[in-house]
């Protein structure tokens, strides 16, 4: 397939995914509101445990005692990870449910191209949702403010995070072709990310979670983003983290590509693509 034909397929898949997404506007509203609502138990828990909006013990671990801002930033940034898991990793499984998977497999386009279209659509939607959340949160008294000087490096980190994670999600999509029902596995992965990356608590407080967390790009991205937003650390250490994330991105994208291609070939050979 020529480059322009490939670009056309990607654009068509993006348009299709976005059209399906916006066919259920209530789902858009849900994703804009509920990830922020899920943070509230942590805010109330903090209020009950320490009695105020700041914690000295938390400051020792993270550099900022504002645990509310810590949790809210974790919730916003982790949206990219979970949208990758559900929107990209689970997307081919959805095509199976809709009865359209066979058409994708039989079309003269490689499924990976279709998946790239889905990934770009998912990334665009998630970016809009996170932007909406950030606007709402910055208007509330949580001590989080966004300036251009802060937003630009944060955007760079988010792009690097998304690149690597969507590589992982593409590999996961291949996994769904193989084992079919992955709903439970997606939930397990969600909770593994909650445990081993600093979405909801500073992972360095425990040696095991601290050790595992350095293998997850989300950890590096969150540490840098919180540093910029909460500690005004501007560019300190940003280049080092950018380098680490770039290395992880390369590994995850290549790994994701080869895993997907291998698993897709295997399911074709086994003749199990159309199975549920």
């Amino acid at each position: 397939m020529s480059l322009s034909a490939t670009a056309y397929v990607i654009r068509a898949e993006m348009a299709k995914t976005i059209r399906i997404y916006f066919s259920y506007p209530v789902i858009v509203v849900f994703w804009a509101i509920f990830p922020v609502l899920w943070v509230f138990p942590f805010l109330f828990q903090g209020k009950a445990m320490v009695g105020s909006g700041t914690s000295a013990a938390f400051e020792q671990l993270t550099g900022s005692g504002n645990y509310m801002a810590f949790i809210l930033i974790g919730a916003m940034v982790s949206n990219f990870v979970f949208s990758g898991l559900w929107g990209v990793g689970n997307s081919l499984r959805e095509e199976t449910y809709w009865g359209t998977m066979e058409y994708i497999i039989a079309s003269p386009t490689h499924p990976l191209i279709v998946l790239i279209g889905k990934t770009l659509a998912e990334a665009s939607i998630t970016t809009c949702i996170v932007f909406l959340q950030a606007t709402i949160i910055s208007l509330m008294p949580f001590g989080i403010s966004f300036t251009v000087a802060k937003v630009l490096p944060v955007l760079l980190l988010v792009v690097l995070l998304m690149l690597g994670f969507y590589g992982f999600a593409i590999a996961f999509a291949g996994f769904t072709l193989l084992i079919k029902e992955v709903h439970g596995w997606v939930h397990t992965l969600e909770w593994v990310f909650f445990l081993f990356s600093p979405i909801r608590y500073p992972v360095q407080m425990n040696p095991i979670t601290s050790f595992v967390s350095v293998l997850i790009p989300l950890t590096w991205a969150l540490v840098a983003i919180r540093g910029i937003i909460l500690l005004n650390q501007q560019a300190v250490g940003l280049w080092r983290i950018t380098g680490i994330l770039l290395g992880m991105d390369a590994a995850l994208l290549l790994g994701g590509y080869y895993t997907f291609v291998a698993l897709e070939r295997k399911t074709r050979r086994d003749g199990t693509v159309g199975m549920h």
Binding site: V26, I27, F30, F34, L37, W38, F40, P41, F42, F44, Q45, G46, K47, A48, M49, V50, G51, S55, A56, A57, F58, Q60, L61, Y67, E181, G184, W185, H187, T188, W191, V192, F194, L195, I199, R200, Y201, P202, M205, N206, T209
Partner: protein, 294 residues
């Protein structure tokens, strides 16, 4: 004749009460066994479901420890009379698992049958539909107890949790009552999938709201007043507060008698409401002919 098309052919309605109940109990048991068979067909997935609750619990506990800088919180002691945050959070999250059971397992019981292509067969069975959802509920409760057992084994092995052993029975009695009320909520969830088909959004939304208003890892006192009032209308509030009261000595803000009485009232309200809603939606989807729609 008017209702003939909307109800299953249930010959047992003419039987004496004892035989009719036995007939229903057999159906509940059969449904429960069927769900276990389906579940154990995927042993790896079953194993995963037992480990999940432990992975799910830990971030909440570790977050609490990170906030306080240790295991004991003087502020929590001031609010509820107990200082041990690990025990406080663990017991809250262990028992809230039953709410997830009501919202997800029961809520999706009909959707699952629809995906398997067996919904019509189930609805044509000669028992009332609430019997079917009760069978689903039985399986979910047993599964939840298994998950709690794994959670507790892990927690007891890793954290040194001290509970009052004499409080175990009254705590379980309260949890039992909470389960009855949750069955009513589960019925509502199950029926919404008949209308909306992809009912995950409603389960997720309601589950999220209940997770905020239920005092799982915090006392009622830290919630805004309107949330405190909302919390008094959900059975999980009393289940969690009373379980912690009996096991850890948490001050609830109301007496044990009042807690039991309120949960008993909520049981009646939610179960009646759940059955009425379920029957109405079931009848409506049958009349509109949308039962088999996806």
């Amino acid at each position: 004749m008017k209702e003939a098309g909307t109800r299953p052919l249930d010959h047992s309605t003419t039987w004496p009460l004892f035989f009719r109940l036995r007939h229903y109990a057999n159906a509940v048991w059969a449904e429960n066994i069927k769900e276990w068979k389906l579940e154990l067909t995927y042993p790896l997935d079953f194993l995963r479901s037992l480990i999940d609750p432990v992975v799910y619990l830990l971030p909440y506990v570790l977050y609490g420890v990170a906030l306080v800088g240790g295991r004991f919180s003087p502020n929590l002691a001031k609010l509820v009379g107990t200082t041990d945050i690990v025990s406080f959070i663990t017991i809250g999250y262990v028992f809230i698992g039953f709410m997830n059971m009501a919202l997800w397992a029961m809520g999706f019981s009909l959707r699952k049958e629809q995906m398997y292509g067996t919904l019509e067969a189930v609805f044509a069975a000669p028992v009332p539909r609430w019997v079917f959802t009760m069978g689903m509920s039985m399986h979910s409760i047993l599964h939840q107890f298994l998950m709690i057992a794994v959670q507790l084994l892990f927690v007891l092995a890793v954290f040194n949790i001290k509970v009052n052993p004499l409080g175990l029975l009254p705590a379980l009695a309260m949890i039992g009552l909470m389960l009855v009320a949750l069955y009513g909520i589960g019925m509502i969830m199950a029926s919404t999938t008949l209308i909306f088909k992809q009912g995950w959004l409603i389960s997720e939304a309601l589950g999220s709201i209940l997770m905020v208003v239920t005092p799982i890892a915090y006392p009622l006192a830290v919630l805004p007043v309107f949330m405190q009032k909302a919390a008094l209308g959900v059975p999980t509030t009393y289940g969690i507060l009373a379980a912690r009261h009996f096991l850890l000595g948490e001050q609830m803000g109301f007496s044990v008698g009042a807690a039991f009485l309120r949960v008993a009232v909520l049981c009646v309200v939610w179960v009646v409401f759940g059955l009425v809603i379920f029957a109405a939606i079931d009848r409506s989807t049958r009349r509109s002919g949308t039962l088999s729609h996806y």
